[in-house]
Amino acid sequence: MYETSYHRADSVADAASKIGDEGKYLAGGMTLLPTMKQRLAAPDTLVDLTHIGDLKGVSVNGKEVRIGAMTTHAEVNGDAALQSACPSLAKLAGGIGDPAVRHRGTIGGSIANHDPAADYPAAMLALNATIHTDSREISADDFFSGMFETALNEGEIVTAISFTAPDKGAYEKFRNPASRYAMAGVFVADHGGDVRVGVSGAYSNGASRNSEMETALSGNLSADALDGVAVDAGDMLSDIHGSSDYRAHLVKVMAKRAVAAM
């Protein structure tokens, strides 16, 4: 790690005023701190968002769900109101990493980071979520712009995400045997017959929707409906853990399992 300075922000405005050109926001630190330790990232300032109360917590109002950016995976997983409004998302949060990661890592950090193998981005796409920042609202479709890339501007802060709970939803993932991140994570959500499918872990441009699957499922929400859908391996990541063909295959298997679980 290189030398850095630390600022504990007490409000969103305070945080935004301290970030500068070379600073980074610190959320759970589960991703940022290891990369700093390996000297892959070297921000001159860390602006800690952990103590900004406004950024924390889950609120559920009927089908409307809002989750503060600094809400940890464990809090999302354990929120009783969310468990009844959108159990699939609560369950997803409970399957991220290990207990230590779930008690530090945050939903805002996860989506701002947009690791292609992270779980939340698939859910944000399938849930048609809105990403709230300190300056605007961005639809999930526009937010995830490429691997480790998002629509966020320099210094922009994710404050919350919100969505309307689907009628039904399910998430199935196949874990990378080494990192335990998703090698293929598929979130299927049924919004009144209009089905959205978000995929993590597999696509080389990061979290993506699969429109063929969405079309196939929108008239017929059954695993069999996916039989005829071909997942294009050309768009997939390929590495020692699995070829693009293997990942394409996994996406379909996970999608079918998600549908079967709905």
Binding site: F174, N176, P177, A178, S179, I240, H241, G242, S243, Y246, H249, L250, V253, R257
Partner: protein
């Protein structure tokens, strides 16, 4: 009938303590005496050690698999404040010579590369600085110019390499480091006479142990005395001075190696000679004590402890009635860039290469291949884990071709309980065993009949469920001829034949029994087992036993925890020491009670008159009197003050290899036996394997401590599960090591262990060791791969999938399933 084994005569047993029922401490699941200080963070690992004036080293490593070093510019690094010195391989070579090599002829290896690098991660320069941060910063400022050479990555291709593809052109013309053939018994005749020959090509890929703690050294050159004081987490501290003295240009006695608690080895810390030599050179060059702790990347890429990486073409000659006649194979082993101990891992495998079966002859051609990868080193099993797997694969293949039940075929060929000691074709013996009993226990522990029915029902429902059984050997108590017996007979190298273990023991005037060990603690339980054995033999309370460790100048013969030897060997030293102490205790005690020594016995930490209740005196009283009151005893040196002794135990049963290598002698005779049975389910959609049930029965002779043995079996099984299902070091075509970190290298965690692991034991005591103890440190990894592979193959029987390479990761299995689906 004359046999090639006739000249290999089994020596008589030197056992003094016979195995018996009713022991007090041996056999108890005593809590580990090591644990309180370790669990409370007070253990003292290498990184906890600080020496006054100590500086820190950071390394510059090669990013290339094979390259010439054109130039190294250290000027910017030297200017950084806090840097004490910057050194290249050439600087290091001014004060040390190349690393020792057991290979013959040796493959030259410098502790820090000179002229050329041969694998990614090989160190070419080092910075010594006031702290590690500065050292790392300075290392990043060193500029190296490279001339990249073709990388040799594939075993077979590397054999064909010429010109710039040859790794060691000064030593040898090709990348073939060794090519030796052996026939033990009438192999050709047996193959000619057999009804069938089963052939398989089998591939075992490399991985390594990756203990939590990496390797580390603090070395301090003493310019006045001309020697080194070294703290290191080597397993071998009383032996390593003799191995590295030449490299360090000092006599072994001029090195003081101080052991530390070691955070896991599994073989990986047996030597660590390279970084001891390198760090010592840095201390000598810089004039200050230097600490170097490998970071994880360096441990993966440069710590010379990668495991076996082998390609077998194996043949088993059998008769139609199922009788195994002969086994032979050609094996290519990808040893990486150097060959630190020759083909010792194949020598090791010769101890039990024919498994628990009666097989009359065995032949082998072994070819050691040099490639641009980190060199191999010891890893739990030391090569025998691979031949166990090969033997069990061949047994399964034979069953399949004969249409026989694999278990029944194994039983048909097993050595019978009345055939021990049993000499296998290589000349090693199996001292004792009851394989049928182990198998019987395992079957009932697992409830095999019920499971077989259940698995068949599940398969009928379309699930991929299968059961695998492995019946394997676990050789223990190694003799060192394995290091060189397969070397070229003309230049066998360092023909070491001794692996002793010693202790010192002293009863101080307060009555405590102080024991000094000469081998370190590496996560095993040396203090616990020594406490139990001495408490048993001397009738003292375990809490009165205090254990310490020597250093290499105060210590003597100790070879340490490796080759599943430590408990059995140190038990011998404990018994020898106890015999000597007992004699003195009785002599002094008898005098104090005015009796004759032969009337005395040891009873609950006292010397007592045999058969008489109140006629006794405690060890503490005897020690007090014998230490401080010399005039109370008669003249004569037999009453010299104090109660102390040293004792060394030599290998209990070994013979020399035959001059012409018709056999290899007895070198690994104390054999355990293991049976693993596992039920798995394969998810055909993803290729993922789940273990549904697991039973392991191990026979390690007399068990000193069931709890610590269980820990060994559990851990070894976890290693074996990793080897089978997920762990592999991946090198790409350019020789880049793609996954040297835990985000990419799939080591199993608790989540991947079987939920309901059932462990059972059979105790067939050894007739050769004290109390009949056998080693048990490697068995899990020696059995799990075979059982799991069989189970997965069984689970995929409807697809006809055959497994001939490990690891069987999800994409590998999914690929095999897809091929089968497409073929159907």
């Amino acid at each position: 009938m004359a046999s090639h084994l006739d000249s290999n005569v089994i020596p008589p047993s030197r056992q003094r303590e016979t195995p018996r029922a009713g022991l007090t401490w041996i056999g108890q699941s005593m809590k580990r005496v090591e644990d309180p200080r370790i669990l409370s963070g007070k253990g003292g690992y290498i990184d906890d050690v600080k020496v006054p004036g100590m500086a820190h080293a950071a390394m510059v490593s090669s990013p290339h698999a094979h390259a010439r070093i054109v130039s190294i510019d250290t000027s910017k690094a030297e200017e950084l404040p806090g840097v004490i010195g910057v050194y290249t391989g050439e600087d290091v070579a001014t004060v040390v010579d190349p690393c020792p090599s057991f290979a013959s002829p040796p493959v030259t290896q410098h502790a820090m590369a000179i002229d050329k690098v041969r694998h990614v991660g090989e160190v070419v320069a080092a910075v010594v600085a006031e702290d590690r941060y500065i050292a790392e910063d300075a290392a990043a400022l060193i500029e190296v110019e490279w001339d990249v050479l073709p990388a040799m990555v594939d075993i077979e291709a590397s054999l064909e390499a010429m010109g710039d593809g040859v790794l060691h052109p000064d030593d040898r013309e090709s990348n073939k480091a060794l090519d030796e053939s052996f026939e033990f018994g009438p192999v050709s005749e047996d193959f000619d006479a057999a009804d069938r020959i089963i052939k398989r090509r089998l591939r075992w890929n490399r991985s390594s142990a990756q203990a939590i703690e990496t390797c580390g050294v603090i070395s301090q050159w003493d310019a006045f005395k001309g020697g080194y004081t070294i703290h290191a987490n080597t397993n071998f501290y009383n032996f390593i001075p003799f191995v590295i003295g030449g490299s360090l240009r000092v006599s072994p006695g001029e090195m003081r190696i101080i052991p530390v608690l070691t955070g896991g080895s599994f073989g990986s810390k047996v030597f660590i000679h390279k970084i001891i030599i390198m760090t010592s050179a840095l201390s000598r060059l810089s004039g200050v004590p230097v600490k170097y702790i490998e970071d994880r990347l360096e441990h993966f890429t440069n710590s010379d402890s990668h495991g076996s990486d082998r390609l077998y073409d194996a043949e088993l000659a059998i008769n139609d009635d199922g009788t195994f006649k002969s086994l032979r194979f050609t094996v290519l082993d990808d040893y990486g860039a150097y060959l630190q101990f020759g083909v010792g891992t194949h020598g090791n495998a010769m101890a039990q290469v024919t498994g628990p079966y009666q097989i009359g002859s065995f032949g082998m051609r072994v070819i050691a291949v040099l490639t641009n990868k980190t060199q191999q080193g010891p890893y739990r099993g030391f090569g025998s884990e691979v031949t166990n797997w090969v033997m069990e694969r061949m047994a399964d293949a034979a069953a399949e071709e004969l249409g026989r039940d694999p278990l029944e075929l194994r039983e048909q060929n097993m050595i019978q309980p009345d055939q021990f000691p049993y000499m296998i074709p290589t000349g090693n013996i199996y001292d004792s065993g009851n394989f049928q009993k182990v198998l019987g226990e395992a079957k009932s522990l697992f409830d095999l009949d019920a499971w077989r029915k259940k698995a068949a029902d599940m398969r009928a429902e379309g699930r991929c469920v299968g059961i695998g059984v492995a019946t394997c050997m676990e050789r223990s108590v190694y003799g060192p001829t394995e290091w060189w017996s397969l070397n070229n007979k003309e230049t066998p190298g360092f023909t070491l034949t001794s692996t002793p273990e010693g202790i010192s023991a002293r009863i101080d005037p307060s009555g405590k029994l102080f024991v000094t060990l000469h081998s370190p603690m590496v996560g095993n339980s040396p203090e616990t087992v020594v406490t139990q054995i001495l408490a048993e033999r001397l009738t003292v309370a375990p809490e009165d036993v205090v254990i310490n460790y020597s250093d290499s100048q105060s210590g003597f013969n100790g070879v340490g925890p490796q080759g599943s030897r430590f408990t059995a060997m140190v038990a011998g030293a404990c018994v020898s020491a106890a015999i000597k102490l007992e004699e003195r205790l009785k002599r002094f005690g008898a005098h104090m009670l005015q009796r004759r020594p032969e009337d005395m016995e040891l009873r609950d930490g006292k010397v007592a008159v045999k058969g008489l209740k109140d006629q006794e005196t405690s060890f503490a009283d005897i020690a007090l009197n014998s230490s401080f009151f010399r005039l109370s005893f008669p003249d004569g040196e037999e009453f010299d003050s104090g109660l102390e002794t040293t004792a060394v135990y030599d290998h209990p049963l070994s013979t020399d290899p035959h001059e012409d290598r018709e056999h290899l002698g007895i070198f690994y005779p104390i054999v355990g036996h293991i049976c693993h049975i596992v039920a798995v389910e394969v998810d055909p959609g993803t290729g993922k394997v789940e273990m549904l049930d697991y039973a392991a029965v191990h026979d390690n002779g007399t068990i000193v401590n069931p709890r610590t043995l269980a820990g060994q079996v559990w851990g070894g099984t976890a290693n074996g599960i990793g080897t089978t299902l997920s762990e592999q070091f991946n090198y790409d075509e350019s020789g880049q090591f793609v996954n040297p970190n835990f985000a990419e290298f799939a080591m199993p965690t608790a989540n991947e262990m079987p939920r309901n692991f059932k462990l059972g034991h059979v105790e067939t005591p050894s007739p050769y060791t004290e109390y009949g103890i056998k080693g048990g440190g490697e068995g899990g990894r020696l059995g799990a791969p075979s059982a799991l592979t069989s189970a997965v193959e069984d689970a995929l029987q409807n697809y006809g999938v055959k497994i001939s390479a490990l690891p069987i990761t999800p994409p590998v299995l999914r690929g095999l399933i897809r091929e089968a689906e497409q073929a159907a």
